[in-house]
Amino acid sequence: MKTAHVWRHVHTIPLLLVLLLLASSISTFGTAHAEDSPLSLFRANIPFKDDAGKIFDMRSLAGRPFVLAMAYTNCTYSCPLIMRDMKTIAKELSTAAVPADILVISFDSARDTPQSMAKFRASYGLQTDARWHFLVTDETHVRTLALVLDVRYQRNAETGIIAHDNKIFLVDPRGVIVSTLSALGEDRTAFSAAAKALKAQ
C-alpha cells in the first residue's frame, strides 16, 4: 500500500525535513514560551483585535493580573449585568491598588467589530480608561477560548441571540485562572481575596 509509494521519496528527506520545520512554525496554537504554565491561557495564542482595530496579544499582559469576561454588544439581557459586575470589580481592584487590566471579549464573531466594541466601550463611559480592553476574534477562536474557559454558548439561528454562561475570571500574571465567578451577583469574597493575594505576590 503506502509503503512503496513513500519509499520512492527517501532521497528527498533533507528537503522534507526543511519543509517539516517550516510547517511546524505555523502551528495552530503556536509554540508556547518555555516559562508558560501548562495551564496558562497564553498557550491558546488567540489573534485578537482591540477596539482600535489593533492586533492584541494576550501575552502582552504577562507579569500582571487581569480580569476577563465574555459578552457581546447586541446582548440586551445579561451582558449589561456582566458589565455592571466588571465595573464594580475594576473599582474594587483600583481601590485595593491591584494593577489589573480588564478584558471584555466578544462571543459574536459574526456581528461584533472593533467599531461596535468601541461604541460598547463608550456606552459604559470607559473611553479614556486604558486598563479596559474590548476584543474580537474569529469564530474558531471564540469557540477555542470559550472551551478553554469552560464558558458555554449557543447562537439562536433565527434571532442571533446568543445564550451563554455568565462567568468572570481572575487571571494571575502567568495567565492561569485563579478564581471564577460563575454567576451574576455571586458573592465575591473569595474572588476579592484572591485578587488581593495577587497584589502581594
Binding site: L16, L20, F29, P38
Partner: protein, 282 residues
C-alpha cells in the same frame, strides 16, 4: 525486531505527512473529502423551534482520522505530542493507547510515544477537542458542526435520511449497547459507505463536533449554573423534535457530558471543510 518495526513506523509517519504536503501524487486529506450538497434537516435539537434547519454545502472526510495520521501530525507539530501537549488542552488520558517506544533516545532527548503497528489503521481515540481541532486546522479544515455531522450520519446506503428506518436505528443502538474493547476500536473502513460515500459514522467510535457542548435550550442565563444543570435533562429534552430518534438522543446526551480537554476510549474525530475552498466533486 520491535525496535526496527517502531523505527519504520516513525519514519513512515513522518513521511506520510511530508509526502502529502510536498508532492502532488497523493491527494491531501481535504481533496479526498466528500462534498455534501445543501439540504434541510430536522435536527433533534434546534434553536429554530422545530422547523427544519438548512445545512449549507460542505465537505467531510470519508473516514475518521487514524492513529497513523494523528502520529504524522504530532511529528509535524511537536507541541501535540503525548509528552508535550499542555494540560490546558488535554487531560491525563491523552493518547492513552500510545506508548514510549524503544526509539527513545535519552542522549538526544527525543523520546516520543507512538501507536503500535496493530492500531495504525484504527481511529485515533483519547484525543481532546483542542487536539482534534488543531489536526483539522493543519489540513485547512475544521471539525464538523453537530448539525453537519448529524446530517450526514442520518444517511444509510440508499437514503439521505434513514433516521425513521427501524432497522437503521436498531443497528446503531445495538452498537451503543456493546461493551467497549480494552484494545480500543476496530479497524477503519470495514463498513459499507453511506449514500454520500462516508463510512464509520456509526459502529466504530463517537466523534467530536465543533459545537459539541452547545445543545442547551434557553436564551440568556441569569440563574446560577442554569446552563450546566438544564442543558440536557430539562428544557432541552422538551425541545427534542423527534422522540422516536433515541440513537440521536444518546449522541446529544453523550456530547453534552464532554469537556473540551477530555479524552475517551471511543471518542475520535474526522474533519470538515468549507466548500468555497474545496472545488472537487467526489
Amino acid at each position: 525486531m520491535l525496535r526496527q518495526v517502531v523505527t519504520i513506523i516513525a519514519v513512515l509517519g513522518g513521511l506520510i505527512c511530508a509526502h502529502s504536503t510536498a508532492t502532488e501524487t497523493r491527494p491531501s486529506r481535504q481533496e479526498g473529502a466528500m462534498r455534501i450538497p445543501r439540504g434541510t434537516f430536522e435536527a433533534l435539537y434546534s434553536t429554530t423551534n422545530g422547523k427544519n434547519i438548512a445545512v449549507q454545502p460542505f465537505a467531510i472526510d470519508p473516514l475518521p482520522v487514524s492513529n497513523a495520521e494523528f502520529f504524522a501530525f504530532t511529528q509535524r507539530f511537536p507541541e501535540w505530542r503525548k509528552e508535550k501537549a499542555p494540560q490546558i488542552f488535554v487531560d491525563s488520558t491523552y493518547l492513552a493507547l500510545w506508548a514510549i517506544s524503544p526509539l527513545e533516545d535519552k542522549a538526544n532527548n527525543i523520546a516520543t510515544a507512538s501507536p503500535i503497528q496493530a492500531i495504525l489503521d484504527t481511529p485515533v481515540v483519547y484525543v481532546s477537542w483542542f487536539a482534534a481541532q488543531a489536526f483539522c486546522e493543519a489540513q485547512n479544515g475544521r471539525l464538523p458542526t453537530t448539525e453537519e455531522w448529524e446530517y450526514v450520519a442520518a444517511a444509510d446506503e440508499r437514503k439521505t435520511n434513514a433516521m425513521k428506518e427501524q432497522a437503521f436505528n436498531q443497528q446503531i443502538l445495538l452498537w451503543y449497547a456493546e461493551p467497549a474493547s480494552p484494545l480500543g476500536p476496530g479497524k477503519i473502513a470495514q463498513q459499507r459507505p453511506n449514500i454520500y460515500g462516508i463510512r464509520d459514522l456509526h459502529g466504530l467510535i463517537w466523534e467530536w463536533t465543533s459545537d459539541f457542548n452547545a445543545s442547551f435550550a434557553t436564551a440568556d442565563n441569569r440563574e446560577q449554573g442554569a446552563l450546566s444543570g438544564q442543558a440536557f435533562c430539562g428544557a432541552a429534552a422538551i425541545n427534542s423534535t423527534d422522540k422516536s430518534n433515541y440513537a440521536a438522543f444518546m449522541r446529544y446526551a453523550m456530547r453534552s457530558s464532554l469537556k473540551a480537554a477530555y479524552g475517551l476510549s471511543l471518542l475520535g474525530f474526522r474533519c470538515a471543510y468549507d466548500t468555497n475552498t474545496t472545488e472537487k466533486h467526489p
